[in-house]
Symmetry: C2
Subunit: 285 residues, 2 copies
């Protein structure tokens, strides 16, 4: 258990973390940082926190654990501000979906400090966003990647893995670069593809509601995610994502040529390869 | 209520129809046709039917309502066989996902008959298949398209709309050609895209399970559908599907160029257009 945790940013993930930490008793005190007066006021009313701070320095004072829950492109700037002022031996993490650049940045910022930065990626998003959709059960049975570069972080990494496991997550370690490549395949490409699909049929709104089944709804669900957040994520992992997109386009070209050529057996085998992959994904549906 | 309904083919849809018709009392008697002895035997044991027939002619005798529930590429052949032998004034329908060619075919086959063919497309599939996954509630709140060409079919069309509504579906009329174009956008393109996505990341099975979140799982869910069934559907609607795929590729090219050029505002606006479309889809999630 931590003495005091600071959650920076009360969006969907930050607010859900507050609820989950409180519910499971993983910290004695919870402090939340919100930028605007309006959000701070809402957090005071809605979240079970000991303090709401609008000043970053005040928010991390006395905390042995800090979790940055702001959009991915703002994490570096926040790290720069708090790296010199977080408590000795504290652990700082984030919940960003892209990890390599932030881990490189953090290595510099923390090298002369006893506090450590270890990245996290709890894969527990939703196409919904904001404090009002916060859910203490958002993390249950979801995966969380914990990623660190330096061996001196062993102890903190174990503590962090325990923390996420304590929220009901299945927590893994993975190198930051490897994480970003794999997320390009398993998260960022699917998001982009889902968005491209929605984009390509966007002019058919008049009858889409009545004429679409569960298939369309599932396939485009994540395209409903916050465009601002996802602009940050996709831009941050652009190079890996473009590599994944190349593979996708290769498969697309193959599908098109099979379909155009009316090669039924090849089409069936193409679809079967996709179906086999889908079936290989064990776990929750 | 119908006197006797014949359901041709006890796959997921046929068997679910039997269960739903029986549960809601929409026909006094239910006959099912199964091709193989093994399936016929299973149907006898598992389904609440009055008769199981392996002979098509016997199966439609005495029925005022016939529903063809076999894979889309087999419907024409079955229609050819039963058109001359179905009862006078009976209604014949199917549950195929592609409608234009079957409606053209049926117009010829039924023009000298008092029985009518009116196509149906209950949008109630699942990535599961087979009698063992049959579910009487499969149809509830799902859309069903009823499609006919000739004005003489008005009465039968109303009766058919009532039938699907009686299963809890929201039933609409739509011309066969229009149906196929719209299904290319709303069903067949999403299926193909989902399959292409699974195909493009199929070599990453070793860690996909632990590293993928709900986003990937939703986006590729329908790629798990029966490859054989979907080969039939996609091939049958090839021309419309290739048109839809053109639009998808236009959107893809745009997304790639925005991403490559690091145009954050354009990316955000692209994602937002997709998100707006997703949000415009009212109804069940």
């Amino acid at each position: 258990m931590f003495e005091q945790v600071t959650v920076i940013g009360p969006g969907l993930l930050g607010a859900s973390l507050v609820l989950a930490i409180q519910k499971r008793g993983l910290a004695k005190k919870i402090v939340i940082w919100a930028r605007s007066e309006k959000t701070a006021e809402k957090a005071r009313k809605k979240l079970p926190v000991d303090r709401v701070e609008q000043n970053l320095e005040n928010s991390v004072r006395g905390s042995d654990f800090v979790i940055i829950c702001t959009p991915v492109e703002t994490i570096a700037a926040i790290l720069k501000k708090i790296a010199p002022i977080v408590e000795e031996d504290s652990i700082v993490t984030d919940v960003g979906s892209v990890k390599a650049s932030i881990c490189r940045e953090a290595e510099n910022l923390f090298k002369s400090r006893s506090a450590s930065f270890i990245g996290s990626h709890p894969m527990a998003g939703s196409e919904k966003s904001g404090m009002e959709n916060a859910d203490p059960n958002l993390f249950i049975n979801r995966s969380c990647i914990v990623t660190s570069l330096a061996p001196k972080l062993e102890l903190g990494t174990d503590k962090l893995l325990d923390f996420w496991a304590g929220l009901g997550m299945v927590a893994y370690r993975l190198g930051p670069k490897e994480h970003d490549q794999k997320m390009a395949h398993f998260s960022h490409l699917p998001h982009l593809v889902s968005s491209i699909l929605s984009h390509s049929i966007r002019n058919h709104t008049e009858d889409a509601g009545q004429l679409s089944g569960q298939g369309l709804r599932d396939t485009i669900r994540i395209s409903g995610g916050d465009p601002f957040l996802w602009t940050g994520i996709l831009s941050e992992n652009k190079d890996n994502l473009l590599d994944s997109l190349d593979k996708f386009e290769e498969s697309l070209k193959l599908a098109r040529s099979i379909l155009t050529g009316q090669q039924r057996e090849s089409l069936c085998s193409f679809l079967d390869q996709g179906a086999q992959f889908k079936k290989s994904l064990k776990g929750y549906e």
